[in-house]
């Protein structure tokens, strides 16, 4: 009886948190994005008095939204793939090899996470420009994002590499498998969930990242977050900001649901019968 009411309480508080953090902001953002320029939404109205797609159309036609979307949606998957690739060797070493000071290295790899993004961004930019990447803004941001999100990728992938079972590798070898066949049968099934999680996390972080994209990219190279922040500054127009933030967030949610399904179906590697 007591347990039942505790469960109920937890469910209700989860529901409450969801409403507070997700439903209310989302609803407000959606409503604000539909406010027609002809009539402002004043506090004495529960809903915007006139609703239309005018803001959406305006931003689509008259701002750099199209370019920003193209940039962001090229940048994020590239950063995800590049980060994953860069993380692999270190993750392999941390997950599969034995060496002295491994725990220290694990900690060291995570250390960049404690530095605030803006601080990293400001000084990282200097390095990027010294490297001559100022001529290619996309490449500079791509490189910077990959480096910045590397700790997450290494962490996730090294845990995945630990999940690979040595006796699967040995069995494959014993049955005459080439290195590639061994990779396919012993490594890949165990790594797949980690690969998906890494791609998802880096994609989302990259698409939402502002500091580096702003400092490195401005003024010519816009991504969705930099566009959003310019709409938050001196010329703050709430309905426009609402449109952009929805554009920023909606694909992430879709992607997350999609990958979540993939993850659920993925990992049979952990459910082998014995040992």
């Amino acid at each position: 009886m007591k347990r039942f009411s505790l469960n109920k309480m937890l469910v209700w508080s989860l529901f409450g948190i969801c409403v507070l953090w997700l439903v209310i902001p989302f609803t407000l953002a959606i409503l604000w994005s539909f406010v027609d320029p002809s009539e402002p939404w004043t506090p004495d109205h529960l809903l915007p008095p006139v609703m239309s797609f005018a803001r959406w159309e305006y931003l689509w036609e008259h701002s750099s939204l199209k370019v920003a979307m193209l940039n962001s949606y090229l940048l994020a998957p590239s950063a995800a793939l590049l980060t994953l690739t860069l993380a692999m060797p270190t993750a392999y070493a941390l997950g599969r090899l034995h060496f002295k000071g491994k725990e220290a290295v694990k900690l060291l790899v995570l250390l960049p996470l404690v530095v605030p993004g803006f601080v990293t961004a400001i000084f990282f930019t200097a390095i990027l420009f010294q490297m001559g990447l100022h001529a290619w803004r996309f490449g500079a941001i791509l490189f910077a994002h990959s480096i910045l999100f590397l700790p997450y990728a290494i962490r996730i992938m090294s845990v995945s590499f630990e999940q690979v079972r040595q006796n699967h590798i040995d069995a494959a070898r014993d049955l005459g498998a080439t290195p590639f066949a061994r990779w396919k049968v012993a490594y890949f099934p165990a790594l797949k969930p980690g690969v998906m999680a890494t791609l998802l996390i880096v994609f989302i972080y990259s698409i939402e990242e502002f500091a580096i994209a702003f400092i490195v990219g401005s003024p010519n190279f816009t991504t969705i977050p930099t566009l959003l922040f310019t709409n938050l500054g001196a010329n703050f127009i709430r309905p426009n900001a609402a449109v952009i933030s929805l554009i920023l967030v909606v694909p992430n949610v879709v992607l997350m649901l999609f990958l979540e399904r993939l993850l659920k179906s993925a990992n049979p590697a952990l459910s082998s019968g014995k040992g």
Binding site: N167, A171, A172, P189, A269, K274, G275
Partner: protein, 350 residues
């Protein structure tokens, strides 16, 4: 003909010598067991034969060809792993065919071998299932089948039954032996279970501290252990310190021990004046005899079902007797004798 020949193999890891100058051979169709306590080097030796480890010294030949430095994927051996190591995302049929696909055998031959092995191992109904949908015994059979489809010169078993429960172990034990005989395969089997070793093997190699302590058929090993380690490891044994007093006739020696003077009949002479001797608890004869009679109080007893363990004490030395009769509850002391031929000379005392 010898399928496998291991010649003076040593395996060192830093300062630690896991396998120390070991030599043995396995003939076609022969089932050889490496038996020993954990840490004796038996699994390391198996990994050297399979190619996962390269020996620090010595040579491995399979089918007369030196394979010492040939990697496992190119070696004509197939391993049955302790934890089965089935690929969890592949169906039973795909698991069974994995090695054949690596060999790039034509589909028809793969199918034929798959059916053959599935039928022999009673896996026909399971072919489409994933490994985690099978019972432990079935998984074990898939692991064995996956090795057998390769038609290797030698199958290597790394404690394959240790994850099964006792009843199942006995049936799988018989099955492995039957299939090994059907295919006339050479087999090297690693275990720490003496029952398994005695029941399955043509020949047992008892290992201790990286060396082979004794090798022989199961009956030889059981009836004529050469050292107290072997006597104690295989079956139960009462081991005593003995001093030779004299030779009575050609095969008979008189020895003095903590439990009194004993007469020993042995085809082989003792290797030293002071040495270890042993006798098996189940060989005690009831009642006083013409020689080697012992009478001692029973200190404790343990009923084991088809026999009872009785512990007697003589001059501070505990001896174990196994009695195949019930209704022993009311006796408090035991009168028994040991036949001279049931006492075995072991190694010299150091």
């Amino acid at each position: 003909m010898n399928t496998v020949s291991v010649q003076n193999v040593s395996m060192r890891f830093g300062d630690f010598t896991a396998v120390d100058d070991v030599s043995f051979t396995v003939a076609d169709g022969e089932f050889v067991t490496l038996l020993g306590p954990s840490g004796c080097g038996k699994t390391t030796l198996l990994n050297v034969v399979s190619g996962f480890l390269q020996p620090s010294a010595g040579k491995i030949e399979i089918g007369g060809v030196d394979v010492t430095f040939v990697p496992p994927e190119k070696r004509d051996t197939a391993m049955c792993f302790q934890s089965y190591a089935l690929f969890p995302h592949l169906s039973v049929a795909e698991n069974l065919q994995f090695g054949l696909k690596q060999k790039r055998l034509p589909a028809a031959e793969r199918k034929q071998r798959l059916n053959d092995v599935a039928e022999k191992l009673d896996l026909v109904a399971q072919l489409e299932k994933l490994p985690n949908q099978l019972s432990g015994g079935q998984q074990q059979r898939v692991a064995l089948g996956r090795a057998l489809t390769m038609r290797p010169s030698v199958v290597l078993f790394d404690e394959p039954l240790s994850n099964l429960d006792a009843k199942l172990r006995e049936s799988v034990r018989l099955e492995i032996r039957k299939i090994q005989a059907d295919y006339n395969l050479a087999a090297i089997y690693v275990t720490h279970d003496q029952g398994e070793a005695l029941a399955m093997s043509d020949r047992i190699l008892i290992m201790r501290n990286g060396k082979i302590e004794q090798s022989g058929t199961p009956t030889e090993i059981y009836n004529f252990p050469q050292t107290s380690f072997v006597a104690d490891f295989i079956g139960d044994a009462n081991i005593l310190d003995a001093t030779i007093i004299g030779q009575e006739s050609e095969d008979f020696w008189r020895v003095s021990t903590e439990i009194g003077e004993l007469l020993v009949k042995s085809d082989t002479p003792p290797i030293a004046k002071r040495l270890k001797i042993c006798w098996r608890p189940e060989n005690a004869q009831f009642g006083a005899g013409e020689m080697n009679s012992i009478e001692a109080p029973i200190t404790h007893r343990a009923f084991q079902g088809n026999y009872t363990d009785l512990f007697i004490e003589m001059n501070g030395v505990a001896q174990r007797v196994q009695w195949r009769r019930s209704h022993l509850e009311d006796i408090t002391s035991l009168s028994m004798n040991i036949r001279p031929e049931d006492i075995i000379f072991l190694e010299a005392m150091t």
